[in-house]
Amino acid sequence: MKTNPTNILLWLIVSLLGASAVGGIALHRGESINALWFITAALCIYAIAYRFYAAWIAATVLSIDPSRATPAERLSNGRDYVPTHRWIVFGHHFAAIAGPGPLVGPTLAAQFGYLPGTLWILFGAVLGGCVQDMTTLFFSTRRNGKSLGQMARDELGAIGGSAALIATFLIMTILIAVLGLVVVNAMKNSPWATSTVAATIPIAMLVGLYMYKLRPGRVLEGSALGVVLLLMAVAGGGWLDGQAGLRVWFDHPGLSLAFAVIVYGFAAAILPVWLLLAPRDYLSTFVKLGTVVLLALAIVWLRPDIKMPALTQFVDGSGPIFGGKLFPFVFITIACGAISGFHALIASGTTPKLLSNERDIRMIGYGGMLMESLVAMMAMIAATVLDPGVYFAINSPAGVVGKTATEAVATISAWGFPVTVEQMNLLAQQMGEATLFARTGGAPSLAVGMASIFGSTFGQGMLAMWYHFAIMFEAIFILTTLDAGTRVGRFMLQDMLGNLWPAMGRTSWYPSVLLSSGLVVAAWGYFLYIGVIDPNGGVNILWPLFGISNQILAAIALCVATGILVKSGKLKYAWITVLPLIWLVIITSTASWQKLASSDPRIGFIAAANSLSDKLAAGALPPDKAAVAPQLIFNQQLDAVLVLFFVVLLWLIVGDMLRVCARHLRGKPVPPLAETAYHPSELEQAWVRD
């Protein structure tokens, strides 16, 4: 570390600036606070954490060795093991980890006010999420790019390995269902949004044909064509919305759209990847990167004021979007952006096979997660620049605030967030929608937030266009996650079924493809269906379930990392993973306990099932609610079982890790470290850093 005076002065200034920005955000009470403070706080904290904490972890805890050949160098095969320049790996890694999660979570968590979510995004990332991603990336790199499940099996034992596998499968199911719900809520009764999202499917196919048949491998040409077509689809949707004869074709309630998404998911899973999944992934990556950069520029240029208070009264657990107190639910709601277990699956497996040198691990593992945290911060800004009344009107489900616009604005205004029917109507009209009420899920309010930021920066005339662009932007990579997740789920299921019936394990045997894809789609389709018919919006149930399962996956990754650190004789440094692990165990166990045992039917699954069946028995439900009540009751019970299962899984693996560590410390035999032997790197001399 260079300790010349200029350097010290520079970091002193960064620290002071960061501290005053965080202090300003935390202590500010009053009319409004400027969004630039959030960006300043984030950038200063990220810089300090990266320069000092991450560097210390890399040098002292992990003992990163630049002279050691990486798997990409030793096993280079031009296909999956390819030594690649670090900025390219960074791009691939970031594109893979940053999905819709960091956009949706902070938007929902904004119901507590801007402060809790913001602090968790900042400190959760630098102390938890980044450490998880970086250590997992490092340990996988030292093991030829093994997956998290394999590492858990090798380093801890069979229990850890199976727990990781099952957790991955379940989290995938819940994730796809909740993301499907977000898209459905954005499209329901909106011909513009529906037709634009629908158009992305043939566009992706066209691009697929172009890249695969017409001009094989010309990825950039195909993507450029696709992006132009997508922009035309956004504009075309607006035109279509004005045609009375055409718009009825795309004007559907939530349930029909949910079935459409389910049918689509099945079709996408069995179609060849080159036709739909691969081209759409190219498009979604370009659109995602472009929009994130545009949003960052617009926020810096416009410097909007945050209108949401620092804390709202909903910290007491009565929030309209999801029930539950600030602790632990803000930490469950914002998973991606602070700490996300799913990243451990990317950081083990794909990315380590591209690293040309171990010294890039800090930048890719730690730095990649910092970028995702910044995306979450921007989502928080986009949600909180809206008038709080508007934010709650868009995000509160009809079951909570009332079915009609008058009821909804009365309820929300009574909470102290004034909003009027005229205001909502004008906003809906500006955005080119019939209504914006009860569009729970985060995508529409984020789109309104983005549209107003973009609109103020690039001209007000195009608000409706920006809104639908933002909807298309979210839908396109939600659908990519949906396809990719279904496919991965299919492979995992085929792998498991293959143990019982070998033919099922053949990934390209068509009956097996159909059956396993059908099962995976049925699993998430079920949760999506229930989410749509639930008058409380479904997000209230599904998002916490997703958060809990994602945090449990993170806990598994941290268990594996802790086990390896202890076994490598680094007990005194193991706190870097143990502290976030303890925190995750506390929040997931508390959240699971409340989801099981709370007597508030908006929080506890069992309480909800009981309250609903009491009402049903007493005949207190209107006929439309009574018709779906038995399904909702069953679902609440199923969710209770699922949460119990998650938390048992978590404690099993924590117990397994503690057992292995205790045995190691007492000198008893444990599974040996699976680290590959040292080979000197020859790349460094010959390697021209291009």
């Binding site: 390219i88 491998g217 990825v219 497996g349």
Partner: protein
């Protein structure tokens, strides 16, 4: 003149990074690798290579939430 050449250089390396990041130059990289590692066998055609790449890319977890 020098500054102008420099600008062209910057643009070129930017374009190369974009191509590499998107995988647009993947086939050329494959050919280079193939020529170096297996000079005795003939490489895959462009479309066969692309089909193989796609299949391989999408058989594991590579997109997150």
């Amino acid at each position: 003149m020098g500054a102008r050449l420099k600008l062209i250089d910057v643009c070129q390396s930017f374009w190369q990074a974009v191509r590499q990041l998107s995988g647009d130059d993947g086939y050329e990289r494959y050919l280079a690798h193939h020529a170096a590692a297996h000079p005795d066998t003939s490489p895959l055609s462009r479309s066969a290579w692309f089909a193989h790449r796609q299949q391989q890319k999408w058989s594991g977890v590579n997109r997150c939430c």
